[in-house]
């Protein structure tokens, strides 16, 4: 019989006490360290040793923070008296976070504009951000020594700072740092292998390796990828994207319909609006069977055929994953994804190429309706504004001058691998294919008019593009919805009228503000800006032109909803 094991109770007790003591000591140490760090951080924010310029943004893409930091470091070398910190916030949180900061008067000095209504709607913008029109007409001193040294700051950016302009406020509230454009990325190795395999089967026409010059060549490459998938790797798809095909459709619209659009441009301002398209449709000048319009849909449908079944459900991560893992020949996405895609592709051992969506070439289907290349425009993006609550407004303005100077904008965008916006700033090798080609046509004709028509028609159109429905079925759905008096084109026209009146009423508030401030403090207002805003309001006729046009083109008074 074994004796029961016994132990010294004092030993057990002492071991327990030791554990508790260690735990308590650990807690005290951890608490003390936390306290010190917390106090230090609080002091550094509340009682900084030198002024701190804070910059908030939501760009967490690869390289962006490094790029901004590089500019900040350069700036701090010139201005050692100032500290500059960036505050990256996830896109999902930015809206709530920045709203709280703005309302509580603790907003960062420089904020990326967008996401939140306070940063994008006029009422919020005018309350929380500095108007910049008085500054942007001055010279940017950081362009000294370049051919831009005598050019007003506004004119040193490719978009003339339109990216930061608010029509309703008739002022500039943001300085853009880049622009974006969309392109097709391709896996050079996969395409080469697919083309070699495909061409070895003796097809006609043969697929070409490298970027295609015509839509037909691109589709043949997709055929090659399909053949390669069937024989070698069923996971391979010709094209992936999380952006669907509507962006590609938009590319085809000017190429096919620019001439037609000019014929429908009733006010001769060079822009054929959706309303003008609707008028043309109701007057019987155009419809879905008009060859140029049908060609847009048919050509886009061919792209849909190269994507996975139900491609509209593909998210950004999946599209990226499939492409960088060699499961897709082409990826349709924007300049913002270039660096991440390039880095990942290289880590997987292949190179990427980038090219714009090509139009049908001579002799290819529907090429007889092509009137020219689609043109692109440059719209500034990554726009930063200065919070009115900033205690360092002059320094914030100076930093924005710095980041938009030619040298720094080039450096910033070279590291971020985004397209530079300052005139003369050279894009990185990776960004060169994203340079907008302005040598093209911009007029386009769209038969979408109003949210209700667009929602219904696009859902049906997507079914057609995904191969789930016929063109005739889409056309019938379109006719049903566009002619529906309660949600179709006539409703959309009324909605435009109603919206115009609301917009005019809001514009009136801006004018009333300016008039009152001028009365209270004569000579304080910007009279040129006032006249601009006044003309803009007057030229919109309080929406009465919509009522007149409706009666003129529809033959009866606009029904009010």
């Amino acid at each position: 019989m074994s004796e029961p094991t016994s132990s010294d109770p004092r030993d057990e007790s002492s071991s327990r006490i030791n554990g508790n003591v260690v735990g308590i000591i650990f807690l005290i140490v951890a608490f003390s360290v936390s306290l010190v760090i917390s106090v230090k951080n609080t002091l550094s924010v509340e009682r900084p040793t030198k002024p701190v310029l804070r910059i908030a943004h939501w760009q967490l893409e690869a390289g962006y923070r490094d790029a901004l930091q590089a500019v900040i470091d350069d700036y701090k070398k010139l201005h050692p008296e100032l500290d500059v910190v960036q505050m990256p916030v996830t896109e999902a949180l930015y809206k709530q976070w920045i709203n709280t900061q703005l309302i509580s008067g603790t907003a960062p000095d420089i904020c990326e504009m967008g996401q939140s209504e306070l940063l994008s709607k006029d009422e919020g913008t005018v309350r929380y951000f500095m108007p910049l029109s008085g500054e942007i007409s001055k010279i940017n001193p950081y362009n000294k020594g370049t051919d831009l040294e005598k050019t007003p700051w506004k004119e040193t950016l490719l978009d003339g700072m339109r990216g930061g302009f608010r029509d309703g406020l008739q002022d500039y509230y943001g300085i853009s740092t880049t622009y974006t454009s969309m392109r097709l990325f391709y896996n050079k190795e996969l395409l080469k292998n697919a083309v070699e395999f495909y061409n070895s089967t003796g097809p006609s026409p043969k697929a070409i390796d490298g970027p295609p010059h015509t839509f037909g060549q691109w589709m043949t490459q997709c055929q090659a990828l399909k053949a390669y998938a069937a024989a070698k790797d069923p996971a391979v798809l010709p094209v992936v994207s999380c952006y669907g095909v509507f962006g590609i459709q938009a590319k085809f619209e000017p190429a096919f319909t620019a001439a037609l659009a000019n014929d429908c441009d009733l006010d001769l301002d060079g822009i054929t609006t959706d309303l003008e398209g609707y008028i043309a449709y109701k007057r019987g000048w155009i419809d879905l069977q008009t060859p140029q319009i049908k060609a847009v849909y048919e050509t886009t449908r061919q792209v849909g055929d190269q994507m996975q079944q139900g491609f509209s459900g593909m998210d950004r991560q999946t599209a990226q994953f499939r492409f960088v893992n060699g499961q897709a020949g082409f990826l349709w996405t924007g300049s913002w994804d270039a660096k991440g895609t390039d880095v990942q592709a290289k880590s997987k051992g292949f190179e990427i190429g980038i090219f714009p969506v090509p139009d049908p070439g001579s002799g290819e289907p529907n090429s007889q309706y092509i009137v020219g290349n689609a043109g692109e425009t440059i719209a500034g993006a990554g726009s930063y504004g200065i919070a009115k609550s900033s205690k360092h407004i002059d320094q914030a303005l100076d930093f924005l001058r710095f980041i938009s100077s030619r040298a720094e904008n080039e450096k910033f965008n070279a590291i971020a691998e985004w397209p530079p916006l300052t005139i003369g700033a050279k894009p990185s090798e990776l960004m060169k294919p994203f340079t907008p080609d302005l040598r093209g046509l911009n007029s386009r004709l769209s038969l979408s008019f109003g949210t209700r028509v667009t929602q219904t028609a696009n859902a049906q159109l997507l079914n057609y593009y995904q191969g789930d429905d016929t063109f005739e079925s889409f056309a019938k759905s379109f006719r049903d919805v566009i002619n529906d008096p309660d949600r179709g084109g006539d409703w959309a026209w009324w909605f435009l009228f109603d919206q115009r009146q609301s917009d005019e009423r809001n514009a009136e508030r801006i004018l009333a503000q300016a008039q009152t401030l001028e009365l209270l403090d004569p000579g304080s207002g910007d009279q040129a800006r006032y006249r601009r805003a006044l003309l803009q309001e007057v030229s919109k006729n309080n929406g009465q032109d919509y009522l007149y046009q409706f009666k003129n083109y529809r033959g009866f008074n606009m029904p009010m909803h």
Binding site: F165, A258, I271, I378, L438, T516, L534
Partner: protein
């Protein structure tokens, strides 16, 4: 000594009180600058109520209160009614013509705009107020603004098919401009006249004539002038005024290259056999099928 100290104390208190009295006006002004009409009402209401009618303080506070009531969101018959009463009181009792003129203008704006659901637009009444300002305050910029508003309120009638009222808008502006050729509102006036001739009057020749005047003076919004240049070019082409068309296509390339019509203008100039300005943005156009967009008839 004690008496002197007493007076000094009263003086100090009065100064402090005056400083405090100015603070709400400053706050109210800041609220207007922020388009925060609710806060503006909070500050100006007591100021207007406590000031003696007709004094500069009363005029200023009443006017600011009226503007805040007029612009308050959501507007209602009540807020607009309050604003109207205040403007009328200023017109009747204030001696400050700047505030009286603007009060008349704002009564016109109330008549012209749909301020709330169910509010009726009354262009005839609006025109009467504008005409009154234009007549009484000639020489002041507010008179030019009133003339522009009056003309626009004629055009907004869109009284098809004869346009008896709408037709009165452009001549009103032209008459004013003949008498005030250097008016600071000349460019927006010519542009408004041009727009009216273009639509609804469909008088393209006169539209182009007015736009040419704007071009001579200088476009008021150069950053947005691209669509007007294009309209001028297209109208000129349709009227057979090729030289003018070339001028505007050229202006698009040089002054509004990013308006979306730059390349189309290059094609148009080539089609018209005119020299194409050298703009690197549109270099190497040889591959494009010229003439299919611009001027396609």
């Amino acid at each position: 000594m004690a008496k002197r100290a007493g007076w000094l104390l009263i003086l100090l208190c009065s100064t402090a009180g005056l400083a405090r009295a100015e603070a709400p006006a400053d706050e109210g002004r800041a609220a207007i600058a922020n388009l925060d009409w609710k806060t503006a009402i909070r500050y100006y209401e007591p100021l207007a109520a406590n000031a003696r009618p007709g004094t500069p303080e009363w005029t200023q506070a009443s006017f600011c209160l009226a503007v805040a009531e007029q612009q308050f969101q959501p507007a209602s018959a009540s807020t607009i009614g309050t604003a109207e009463q205040l403007y009328r009181a200023i017109i009747d009792q204030s001696g400050d013509k700047r505030y009286v003129a603007r009060s008349l203008m704002n009564l016109g704006r109330i008549a012209e705009l749909r301020d709330y659901t169910g509010d009726k637009i009354d262009l005839a009444t609006a025109r009467k107020f504008y005409a009154q300002v234009a007549e009484k305050y000639d020489g002041d910029p507010v008179a030019s603004e009133a003339t522009l508003r009056e003309a626009a309120a004629f055009v907004m009638e869109y009284d098809a098919p004869d346009f008896v009222l709408a037709r009165q808008g452009p001549p009103l502006l032209e008459k004013w401009l003949a008498a005030h050729p250097n008016d600071t509102f000349a460019a927006p006036m010519w542009q408004t006249a041009g727009d009216a001739y273009f639509m609804p009057l469909e008088d393209w020749k006169n539209a182009l004539r007015c736009y040419e005047q704007v071009d001579r003076i200088g476009w008021i919004d150069p950053a947005n002038s691209g669509p007007w240049f294009w309209r001028c070019a297209r109208i000129a082409e349709k009227l057979g005024e090729t030289k003018t068309a070339i001028k505007y296509y050229t202006k698009i390339i040089n002054e509004a290259p990013n308006s979306g019509k730059g390349y189309a203008s290059v094609l148009a100039l080539k089609r018209l056999g005119a020299p194409v300005p050298n703009n690197p943005l549109f270099a190497d156009p040889a591959t494009q099928p010229a003439g299919k967009e611009a001027g396609h008839e």
